[in-house]
């Protein structure tokens, strides 16, 4: 067990590092970012943006550094300046980036000309790095600062402000759907081919083949718009709290930001997630149970004269629920990452929407932080399920 853990942890570190490199490279390819759109501003207003201004903005977001340095500074906050050994500084003049790229005007034979960036006019050296405010590196828990969404504010502030909403929504949806989905799956397996089973399998089949955005939109149409027009109690269609008080038939006036208000906003997104989850979970448990209920040991338990209840819940369920655990490996990621599409439809201020926003608006430090945290959580999830599996199923030995 100990060797297994050590080996897995080393593997995890390698995978994390590799995926950090790949995703960083991928985002480096992406266009946009804090310097995008500056030229448009320049053309519109009287203030002209000089090369120095752009260099300053780039320096603030480290965009002027060469990729390897940028990566290591982002990852571990290194290098943070020239190397000092025994009072002597080394490498102070070595270039690590380019502050102002050189410009060359190309004149074409047909009279047109084009300015392209070529070479470098002013380099950034190790010595320049000393004065910079740096992040301590993502592996030490410092995510750096946001580039677009909340300019210059730490990414951690942004994540902290969204995390409670996501945790609330995903946590509640998860608990409720396990509490409902597992018993439903068991019951419909025990009563296979009964009318209940038919209804259950059909509903969960439909539920799991419909995309969440379709379910979300239809439920807004029914529970928010149609219900409101019909004068029935309706649910607010989006966001987490209301901005002003509103009146709902039968319930009365709902104060903005009260618990009731939050609850009303919570019901629909949570309901959609619960519906989708239940459809998946109950099908999974049902097929697992069906397989186990056929086995000899279940028959043995029955022929010993045990009550059906004991046979199903004690003997069969224990084996049937094992594969379910692997399904839960992704739970940590889900809890953190949220459900981007559901959050987008219901305007829920969670982390899933933050991810979509950050990519849409090219705020790559935010996107990178979210990606890295979810990869980390996924790996942790895999580890936990492997350990859980070996604890619950004695047939499996970790080695």
């Amino acid at each position: 067990m100990a060797t297994f853990l050590i080996r897995r942890l080393i593997q995890m570190v390698i995978v994390l590092l590799a995926s950090a490199i790949v995703s960083y490279a991928l985002l480096y390819l992406a266009p946009g970012g804090p310097t995008a759109g500056l030229r448009q501003i320049q053309q519109g207003g009287r203030n002209t943006i000089t090369a120095e201004d752009i260099a300053r903005i780039k320096a603030r977001f480290e965009l002027d550094l060469y990729l390897p340095y940028r990566f290591t500074r982002w990852l571990a906050g290194f290098p943070s300046g020239p190397v000092t050994i025994g009072g002597q500084t080394f490498l102070a003049d070595t270039a690590v980036g380019c502050a102002i790229p050189g410009q060359v005007r190309l004149r074409y034979p047909d009279g047109t000309s084009e300015i392209i960036e070529e070479g470098c006019e002013q380099y950034v050296t190790f010595a320049d790095l000393t004065d910079r405010r740096t992040s301590r590196g993502i592996i030490f828990g410092d995510f750096g600062s946001s580039q677009v969404i909340l300019r210059d504010r730490p990414v951690s502030v942004l994540i902290e402000s969204r995390l409670p909403y996501t945790l609330q929504l995903m946590g509640a949806a998860l608990v409720i759907s396990i509490l409902i989905g597992v018993p439903l799956g068991i019951y419909s397996a025990v009563r296979q081919y009964s009318r209940f089973d038919y209804v259950m399998t059909t509903v969960s089949f439909v539920g799991s083949s419909l995309p969440t955005f379709v379910i979300g939109i239809i439920s807004i149409l029914i529970f928010a718009i149609a219900a409101k027009e019909a004068g029935l109690p309706y649910l607010p269609p989006g966001s987490a709290v209301a901005l002003s008080d509103y009146t709902v038939p039968l319930i009365g006036t709902v104060e903005a930001e009260s618990t009731l208000d939050r609850l009303l906003h919570f019901i629909m997104p949570c309901g959609v997630l619960v519906f989708v989850n239940i459809a998946g979970y109950s099908r999974f448990i049902r097929s697992g149970m069906l397989e186990v209920l056929r086995l000899d040991y279940v028959r043995t338990a029955r022929s010993k004269g045990l009550r059906e209840r004991t046979v199903v819940l004690k003997h069969a369920l224990r084996n049937a629920i094992l594969p379910f655990i692997t399904l839960l490996a992704g739970v940590l990621v889900e809890l953190f990452g949220g459900a981007a599409i559901t959050e987008a439809i219901f305007n829920w201020p969670g982390l899933g929407r933050l991810l979509v926003d950050s990519i849409e608006r090219s705020d790559y430090t935010v996107a990178m932080s979210l990606t890295m945290v979810s990869i980390f959580l996924l790996l942790i999830g895999y580890l936990i399920t492997d350990i859980l599996y070996s604890v619950l199923d004695p047939r499996i030995r970790l080695s």
Partner: protein, 341 residues
Amino acid sequence: MSTSTPTRPASQWELVLRRFRSHRVAMFCLYVLIAIYIASMFAPYIAPYPRDQISLDRSYVTPFQTSKIGTFHVLGTDHLGRDFFTRLIYAARVSLTTALTVVTISTIIGVVIGLVAGYFGSWVDNLVTRFIEFISTFPTFTLLLIAGSIVLQSEQAIPIPDILTKLFSFLMAINEREARQVVMIVAIFVLLGWTGVARFVRGMVLSIREQLYVESSRALGGSHLHNMFTHVLPNAMPPIIVSYTLGLSGTLVAESGLSFLGFGIQDPTPSWGNMLAFANSYMFNYPWMPLVPTLPILVCSLAINYVGDGLRDALDPRVQTEIRREQRDALLAAIRERSKS
């Protein structure tokens, strides 16, 4: 039919076909899908209006209504006055062809890689599995978003063979600039999509290659290529077919989800996802609007899944469809009896 020919026992595929045919819902769904796809192939002839014709005189027309300028719209018009029915048919062509090409290409890649990895084992297998494991640690959805945004913002920067854009613009009845975008979206989905197929094909091949018939073929001197494609692959086929159909609906939904969030196929090119995204923002004033693009997504993903379900039953004799049908008939008979009394 001449009686002299000895009755040949039905081949495995004939049995499968027969079993599939008897699955009524799946057959119906298959017909629906085929009908939709054929209709979309004839889009220019069926569509009552030009695809992108904008006219503010006839914006927000409710379904089955005539606009102010006297044009009739079966499914209404959007905020720019473009006819929904027309765009839905063109979008069917884009969305369904995207799903078909993505799943076909990624299944072929996945099957070949999984087959090779599982058949040869040892270091080949190790390399492939490690690589797949590595890819699957990335959150797929995030990667899709990032890749989508890169592709859409630096459209001209990525070189695409001319023949590909021409092919897609022909297949989807869109111009070449739009086709470039679609090609890139397809490429992203393929890049992220083959790993799942490869993983499960590898798993199956691992057990199939240990079977006696493969061993005897090897003993008879059958080449690796011969063994792989005549003995191993056909026996791995049923789950591959099922995963192909389920992959279709998965990709359809994922593509419309991506387009819904604005990272997929972009506006003048119609796709069910981006039409829904626009309709969605007008839902409070025109509640019928989001329902229009929702309908085909709903119908197609349900239909594909039902076909997949029927195929699974037909291909896997362990699922006792016969028993199921008997039970269902008994149930129906009981209900009829009760309703009579």
